[in-house]
C-alpha cells in the first residue's frame, strides 16, 4: 500500500499550494488512475511520490515505510517512473537502455542483464528492437521500451506520466490492451487527463482539482462525479 498523509506542496516563490492537505491510499492493484485537468496538481503529486520534489509537509509511505527515509537504491526498486517524454537515452541502443541501470547501479553481470532484457522485450512483443537506436523506432515502441526499461528493476509500483500523450487513437487502444494483459508483479499508477483511456485500463483512482482530491474510488463513479458541475 502506498499512502499519502496530509501532503502539502508549495512551490518556492508561490503563495498558492499546488497540493493542499491531500490524503490517499493507493492499494497494490493492476492499474490505479490519478486523474485531473492540467494544473490540478497531478504532476506535482507525481514528482513528490517519485522523490523529485520534497513535500513542504506531510508524508508518503510505501508499506508503512516513509519514502524520505528509504535508501536510494531501495526506493528506486520500490517505485519506478516512466516520464511523459519517455527520455530513452538516444546515444544507446534499446538493449543498452535496458541494461544500463541493472549493470551500473545494481552491479548485475552484463550477460545476465542482457538475458533478462531479451526476455522482457520478447514478452512485450518488441524482441526484434534490441539493436535499434531510439530515433529508429516508433512512438508506441518507444513507450513499451521505456516501460520495459523501468520493469528491469522489478519495482512494486510504477508511475506512468501521461502515457498516451504521444500516441494516436489506434496506438492508445493497443496500449490499453497491452497494459491490461501485462502479467507483472508491478502496480501501475497512471497519471493522466485522458479519461477514456483511464476507464479502459483502471478500476480505481482519484480525481484531483486545485491540489485537492475531489473524488476517489471506482473510476466509473469518479467520472460521474467529475462530470457534475463544480458550483452545485
Amino acid at each position: 500500500m502506498l499512502s499519502i498523509r496530509d501532503l502539502n506542496y508549495v512551490y518556492p516563490n508561490s503563495d498558492e499550494p499546488a497540493i493542499a492537505g491531500m490524503n490517499a491510499d493507493i492499494p497494490r492493484e493492476r492499474v490505479f488512475a490519478v486523474l485531473g485537468e492540467s494544473g490540478s496538481g497531478k504532476t506535482t503529486l507525481l514528482n513528490c511520490i517519485a522523490r523529485f520534489l520534497t513535500p513542504t509537509n506531510g508524508t508518503i509511505t510505501i508499506d508503512d515505510q516513509d519514502i524520505a527515509d528509504m535508501p536510494k537504491a531501495g526506493f528506486r526498486r520500490a517505485l519506478g517512473v516512466v516520464f511523459q517524454k519517455l527520455y530513452l537515452f538516444p546515444h544507446l541502443t534499446v538493449q543498452e537502455n535496458m541494461i544500463l541501470a541493472p549493470v551500473k547501479a545494481f552491479g548485475q553481470a552484463r550477460s545476465e542483464a542482457r538475458r533478462t532484457s531479451a526476455e522482457m522485450l520478447d514478452r512485450l512483443g518488441i524482441g526484434d528492437l534490441d539493436d535499434r537506436y531510439p530515433s529508429q523506432i516508433s512512438g508506441g515502441q518507444a513507450q513499451r521500451v521505456a516501460i520495459a526499461r523501468g520493469l528491469m528493476l522489478q519495482p512494486q509500483y510504477m508511475l506512468l506520466d501521461e502515457p498516451t500523450s504521444a500516441l494516436d487513437a489506434r496506438t492508445t487502444g493497443e496500449f490499453s490492451q497491452w497494459l491490461s494483459e501485462l502479467q507483472e508483479d508491478t502496480s501501475f499508477i497512471i497519471v493522466t487527463h485522458d479519461l477514456p483511456f483511464a476507464t479502459a485500463v483502471a478500476s480505481h483512482g482519484i480525481f484531483l482539482e486545485a491540489g485537492r482530491i475531489r473524488a476517489a474510488g471506482d473510476v466509473e463513479n469518479i467520472l460521474q462525479q467529475a462530470r457534475r458541475p463544480n458550483n452545485e
Binding site: 523529485f52 528506486r76 530513452l88 537515452f89 546515444h91 551500473k104 547501479a105 537506436y133 530515433s135 523501468g150
Partner: protein, 482 residues
C-alpha cells in the same frame, strides 16, 4: 739583447695581466662556478649570430661569448630569443647577459648596466643601386618610406631626428630586402657592418649612401644588481682587446682577409633545413598535443561549473566565468608573454601552459553548450533508474554532450595547432622560429614560409575533414540538436 729584454717584459706583462684577471674573476667564479653563463642573442643576426651549415649557433657574438665565458671560468649556454623581448627576458632572469650586438642607449642604461663596448658600428642608410628616388642621404628622404627592424635603435632615431621620414618597421631584414627589391620602400637604415654583410650574402643590388647617421657602441647588458658579473665581463673584454682576441674575431668576420668559409654561406644543406623544419614541427605538434590534453581535461570541470550557475558548485561559477572570459577576451600573445616574463616560466612550460589554459577557456564554453543541449529530463530518467549522480553524468549526460561538442572541439584543436605559431615569440624552437633562422641565412622567405604553411595544412586539413565526418554521422543518428 734588447729584444730578449722586451720579450721578458712582455711575458711578465701577460702573466701579470692573466694573474690580475684571475684575481678579479675569482670571486665571481667562487659564486657561480657550477652555473653556466647564460647568454642571449637572436640567432637571426648574421654574421653576429646565425645557424651554421650544421644547424648550430655561430657568429661574432657567439665567439665573443665563448671567449668571455672561458675567461670567467664558466661554461656558456646560449639562449636564442626574440629581439623585441630580449631586454625583458634579461630583467626576468631568463639569462645572465645579452651578447647580441646591443647598442648602448641612455634609455636602456636606465634598466640595465652596460659593459665596456666590444665593437663599434653605426647607423647607415642603404638604398637600391638604381636609386629611382635619387636620394643620397637621409636628409633627402623626407616624405619617403624608409625601413628599420622593429625594436632596433634606428627606428627610434629616425622618428626623433627625421620626423618627416615615414618609418616602416618590419620584423627582420629579410622582409626589408623583399620590400626594397619590389621598390615599395626607398631604403632602409641598418647597422653599417651587418647591412653591408647581409647585402653581400643575399646578393642584393643595394648600396650604402651618405655618412653614417651616427656611431654606436655595442656592449653587453647585465642586470643592475649583477655588479660582479659586470666587472668580470669588463675585465675579460679588456684582456681580449689587449691580447688581440677581439681584433682576431673581428677580422674573422669582417676583415679584408676574412676567409670566405666564415659566416653563413647563404646556403644551408637541404638535409639540415629538412632536419630543422621537422624538428621544429615536431616541437609544434608536441606543444599542441600537450596543451590540448591540459585544456580538454580542465575544460570538462569548468564546462560543468559554467552549465550550473546554481547548486552545489555555485560558489565556483563567478571565478570560473571570470577566468574563462578573461582568457577569451585577451590576446594569446599577451598571455604568452606574461607567462614567460611576468611569471618567469621557462619557454616550453609557458607555451604549453598558456596554450593549454587558453584552449581550456574555449573548450569549456563548448563543453557547456554540449551539456546544455542535453535535456534535463535525461538526468531525471537516469536518477529514476537508481543511477548515482556520477553515473548519470558519466553514462548519460556526458556521452551525449560530447558527441554534440566534437565538431566545435575539432575546430578548437585546429585553432590551437595554428596558435602554436605564436610561441616562436617566446623563443621556443618550434617550426616558425626554425624557419626564420633558415631564412636569415638563405634569404628565401616566400619559399620557407610556404613550406611551413603546407606542413600546418597537412595536419589541420585531415582534422577538419574528420570533424565534418563526425558531424554528419551524429546528424544521421539523429540526436544532436546541431
Amino acid at each position: 739583447m734588447v729584444s730578449r729584454l722586451l720579450l721578458a717584459v712582455r711575458i711578465g706583462w701577460v702573466l701579470g695581466a692573466m694573474l690580475a684577471g684571475f684575481c678579479l674573476a675569482a670571486p665571481a667564479m667562487a659564486q657561480d662556478r657550477e652555473k653556466p653563463l647564460r647568454v642571449a642573442m637572436t640567432g637571426k643576426y648574421p654574421p653576429f649570430s646565425y645557424y651554421d651549415n650544421e644547424g648550430n649557433l655561430a657568429g661574432f657574438d657567439v665567439d665573443v661569448s665563448r671567449e668571455i665565458a672561458r675567461r670567467l671560468g664558466r661554461e656558456v649556454e646560449i639562449v636564442a630569443t626574440e629581439w623585441d623581448g630580449i631586454l625583458a627576458g634579461l630583467l626576468a632572469g631568463k639569462y645572465d647577459a645579452i651578447i647580441g650586438s646591443m647598442a648602448i642607449t641612455a634609455e636602456r642604461a636606465k634598466k640595465v648596466n652596460f659593459s665596456e663596448p666590444y665593437y663599434q658600428s653605426g647607423a647607415q642608410l642603404f638604398i637600391h643601386r638604381d636609386n629611382p628616388a635619387k636620394v643620397f642621404s637621409i636628409e633627402e628622404c623626407d616624405g619617403m618610406k624608409v625601413s628599420a627592424v622593429l625594436g632596433e635603435t634606428y627606428q627610434r632615431y629616425l622618428e626623433q631626428n627625421h620626423p618627416a621620414v615615414e618609418v616602416v618597421t618590419l620584423k627582420s631584414s629579410v622582409e626589408i630586402f623583399e620590400l626594397l627589391e619590389q621598390n615599395r620602400i626607398t631604403g632602409f637604415v641598418s647597422d653599417r657592418l651587418v647591412g653591408s654583410w647581409q647585402i653581400k650574402s643575399a646578393s642584393r643590388p643595394f648600396v650604402p649612401v651618405g655618412d653614417m647617421l651616427y656611431a654606436e657602441k655595442m656592449a653587453i647588458p647585465v642586470r643592475k644588481e649583477d655588479t660582479q658579473l659586470l666587472e668580470g665581463i669588463n675585465e675579460a673584454l679588456r684582456q681580449m682587446r689587449r691580447d688581440g682576441t677581439t681584433r682576431r674575431i673581428h677580422q674573422k668576420y669582417f676583415g679584408l682577409a676574412a676567409p670566405s668559409n666564415v659566416g653563413p654561406s647563404g646556403e644551408m644543406s637541404s638535409g639540415v633545413i629538412a632536419a630543422k623544419l621537422f624538428k621544429g614541427f615536431a616541437a609544434t605538434l608536441g606543444i599542441a598535443a600537450a596543451a590540448l590534453g591540459i585544456g580538454f581535461f580542465l575544460a570538462i570541470p569548468c564546462g560543468l561549473v559554467l552549465n550550473q550557475p546554481r547548486g552545489g558548485m555555485a560558489f565556483l561559477y563567478w571565478p570560473v566565468r571570470t577566468v574563462v572570459d578573461f582568457l577569451r577576451g585577451t590576446p594569446v600573445l599577451i598571455q604568452l608573454l606574461f607567462a614567460w616574463m611576468g611569471l618567469g616560466l621557462s619557454p616550453y612550460v609557458a607555451a604549453i601552459g598558456t596554450l593549454g589554459v587558453n584552449s581550456m577557456a574555449y573548450m569549456a564554453e563548448i563543453v557547456r553548450a554540449g551539456l546544455m543541449s542535453v535535456d534535463y529530463g535525461q538526468v531525471r530518467a537516469g536518477r529514476a533508474l537508481a543511477l548515482s549522480r556520477y553515473q548519470v553524468f558519466r553514462y548519460i549526460v556526458w556521452p551525449q554532450a560530447f558527441r554534440v561538442a566534437i565538431p566545435p572541439l575539432m575546430n578548437s584543436v585546429v585553432a590551437l595547432t595554428k596558435d602554436t605559431a605564436l610561441v616562436a615569440v617566446i623563443s621556443v624552437a618550434e617550426v616558425i622560429r626554425e624557419a626564420q633562422s633558415i631564412i636569415s641565412v638563405t634569404f628565401e622567405p616566400s619559399k620557407y614560409y610556404l613550406i611551413v604553411a603546407v606542413m600546418f595544412f597537412a595536419v589541420t586539413f585531415p582534422l577538419m575533414k574528420f570533424a565534418g565526418l563526425i558531424e554528419r554521422r551524429i546528424r544521421r543518428k539523429g540526436f544532436a540538436h546541431a
